[in-house]
């Protein structure tokens, strides 16, 4: 990890009127990394990517890519950064190949090089069979693949992808993921992916940043984030036993350190605790005469990490502004009840 930083932002802020879309973002990404920017819809991911490309001016703070200031030298930045927008579009009355050549020419490449590169890239994304069909006839997945070829036309150092996995079938997804891997490993390009689809991001990203309400609330390798949560006393255990006895549930609730138990229809219990209770739980199961059918320590996967961080951010918000959001929900709920009576 001795590679130099290629993307750096310092206190990057963007306000739309009263709304702060991105709030003091400090982000550094090293050369050759695949970085996942995760967050719910409206967290400010797209705004961040637009600021990195110099398409939107930040209200405060700076961003730079490969030493070029994103606001002051947008042309330099745009010539080394490939951008794949979330709903990528092509000129419907031009063929896929013509669309690629057009992009190449906008980047100042000469016609011959464009044609050669377009053919290579179409081959690489597996679109040669449809290269000379009008782009208007393409399906969503084909457009996405052509979009990747389009991004690669300028031979970028950095690739920014906004929700690249949106609306692609599972097979297409697998291809896309291996392609992204290849771009990073074989070509050594830096890739920034913004997404809310955790599973895919987990498969390809070296590091992730969790982005909620314009703030980066966690950033690091997936394993590190998981460990960090555990160290903070957040353990989560899935446990299932047969037969499903009420006694077991009660005894588990009485264990020291157990904060909450939720049981679903199949009898699967999700136990949240402040320490590792696996040993105590298995002993309890045996004492009550049940058979342990499932025991799973959660926390390793991104879904869990994301959920936890999201919860944590929500809690701190609640404390900060007197439970504004949940208060609203609660009053809504009460209203409903009142009208129901």
């Amino acid at each position: 990890m001795a590679e130099p930083f290629i993307i750096e932002t310092k206190g990057l802020t963007k306000c739309y009127g009263e709304v702060t879309a991105v709030d003091g973002l400090d982000l550094t990404i090293r050369q050759g990394e695949v970085f996942g920017l995760l967050g719910p819809n409206g967290a400010g991911k797209t705004t961040t990517t637009l600021m990195l490309l110099g398409l939107t001016e930040p209200t405060e703070g700076t961003a730079s890519i490969d030493g070029f200031d994103c606001t002051r030298q947008p042309l330099k930045v745009k010539s080394i950064v490939g951008y794949l927008p979330d709903s990528v579009g092509f000129y419907p009355d031009m063929t896929g190949r013509q669309n690629l050549i057009f992009t190449g020419q906008l980047n100042g490449l000469d016609r011959e090089l464009c044609e050669q590169r377009a053919s290579e890239l179409l081959e690489r994304v597996g679109m040669t069979y449809a290269a000379d069909r009008k782009a208007g006839t393409y399906s969503r997945g084909m457009k996405q693949r052509l979009g990747i070829a389009d991004v690669l036309m300028k031979d970028p150092k950095v690739i920014i992808m906004d929700e690249p996995t949106l609306g692609i079938d599972p097979e297409g997804m697998r291809e896309l993921i291996s392609l992204i891997r290849e771009l990073s490993v074989r070509d050594g390009r830096t890739i920034l992916i913004s997404s809310h689809q955790l599973y895919q991001v987990q498969q390809i990203c070296d590091r992730v940043g969790i982005f909620v309400a314009g703030q980066l609330i966690a950033c690091g390798r997936i394993e590190d984030l998981g460990r960090q949560l555990e160290n903070e006393g957040n353990w989560s255990l899935d446990l299932q036993a047969e037969p499903n006895k009420k006694e077991l549930y009660e005894k588990l609730s009485d264990l020291a350190g157990v904060k909450r138990i939720e049981q679903d229809a199949t009898g699967l219990m999700r136990i949240e605790s402040s320490r590792d209770i696996r040993r105590d739980a298995t002993t309890l199961v045996m004492e009550t005469g049940c058979i342990l059918t499932q025991l799973h320590q959660r926390g390793g996967d991104l879904d869990e990490i994301y959920h936890r961080y999201f919860e944590k951010a929500g809690e701190s918000d609640e404390r900060a502004d007197g439970g504004k959001a949940s208060g609203k929900l609660r009053s809504l709920f009460h209203k409903k009840q009142a009208s129901g009576q």
């Binding site: 398409l55 100042g108 979009g147």
Partner: protein
């Protein structure tokens, strides 16, 4: 004036029983060319999802809107000259009289004027294409302005000037001049009127003056067609205003486009 003079120009201005003249066609339908070329310039790129892809290439953002206007203006220029040449060619075959040098100059000036006129509407349509999200809204907005300025401006102008300076009764004699001047000034807001006035002057050398002609200015005038330079001098303000309108329209579109968010 000798009617055999400037016969070639009559090709553009003569109308039949059931058909309008070439000049009327251009004045009335030319705006539609401009609107067609401009109404979906920006919003179509946006809805196709090509605008952000385009903006992510190493080009300045204003080159997108500059290109949209220049491409439209080029097409308009080619279109007017092709139409003009077709018309002249057909006329040459039909009447067999070649145009004189002055007639050629007048036709070229007229065609350039038409191109500027259509570019005004192109600029207007591009404004709406930047401001409106949907191409259909932009098209309807441009067309409604076109209809208003081409058909109803006349009514509005005479209505206003008749209210402010009534020409009935005794005081009407005193108001007549002011009434006419106001009517003319209001009409000249419309590019349609400006263009018709200018086109008539340039294609018809016997038009010696536009606006009010008093008895004193006619007395002693020689009954002869105006030379090309003098006709051009008469319509010079019209041409300048139309170029200014196109430039102002483009400037509005440019500024609002540059301030807009690129995201779809």
């Amino acid at each position: 004036m000798d009617s055999s003079e400037f016969l070639f120009l009559k090709l553009f201005t003569t109308s039949g029983n059931s058909i309008y003249s070439f000049a009327t066609f251009i004045a009335f339908l030319g705006p539609l060319v401009g609107i067609t070329l401009g109404f979906d310039a920006i919003n179509n790129e946006r809805s196709q999802g090509t605008l952000n892809r385009l903006a992510a290439q190493p080009i300045y953002r204003d080159s997108i809107i500059n290109a949209k206007f220049l491409a439209g203006a080029t097409v308009i220029l080619m279109l007017t000259f092709t139409l003009g040449l077709f018309m002249s060619g057909a006329g040459l075959l039909l009447i067999g009289i070649p145009p004189s040098g002055e007639e050629v100059c007048r036709i070229i000036a007229y065609l350039l004027l038409s191109a500027v006129y259509m570019s005004v509407w192109l600029a207007l349509a591009i404004i709406f294409s930047v401001v409106c999200k949907h191409a259909a809204t932009a098209a309807l907005a441009s067309i409604s302005i076109w209809l208003f300025l081409s058909l109803f401006m006349d009514l509005v102008a005479s209505g206003i000037s008749n209210v402010l300076f009534p020409v009935e009764g005794i005081q009407g004699y005193g108001n007549m001049m002011k009434n006419y001047e106001l009517d003319l000034a209001l009409n000249r807001i419309s590019p349609y009127y400006l263009f018709t006035e200018a086109a008539t002057t340039i294609l018809n050398p016997s038009v010696r003056s536009i606006g009010i002609v008093t008895m004193s200015s006619v007395s002693g005038a020689i009954d002869a067609p105006l030379p090309f330079g003098q006709s051009l001098l008469l319509i010079w303000p019209h041409l300048v205003v139309m170029i200014a309108l196109a430039a102002a329209g483009f400037a509005i579109a440019y500024v609002s486009f540059m301030r807009q968010e690129i995201r779809a």
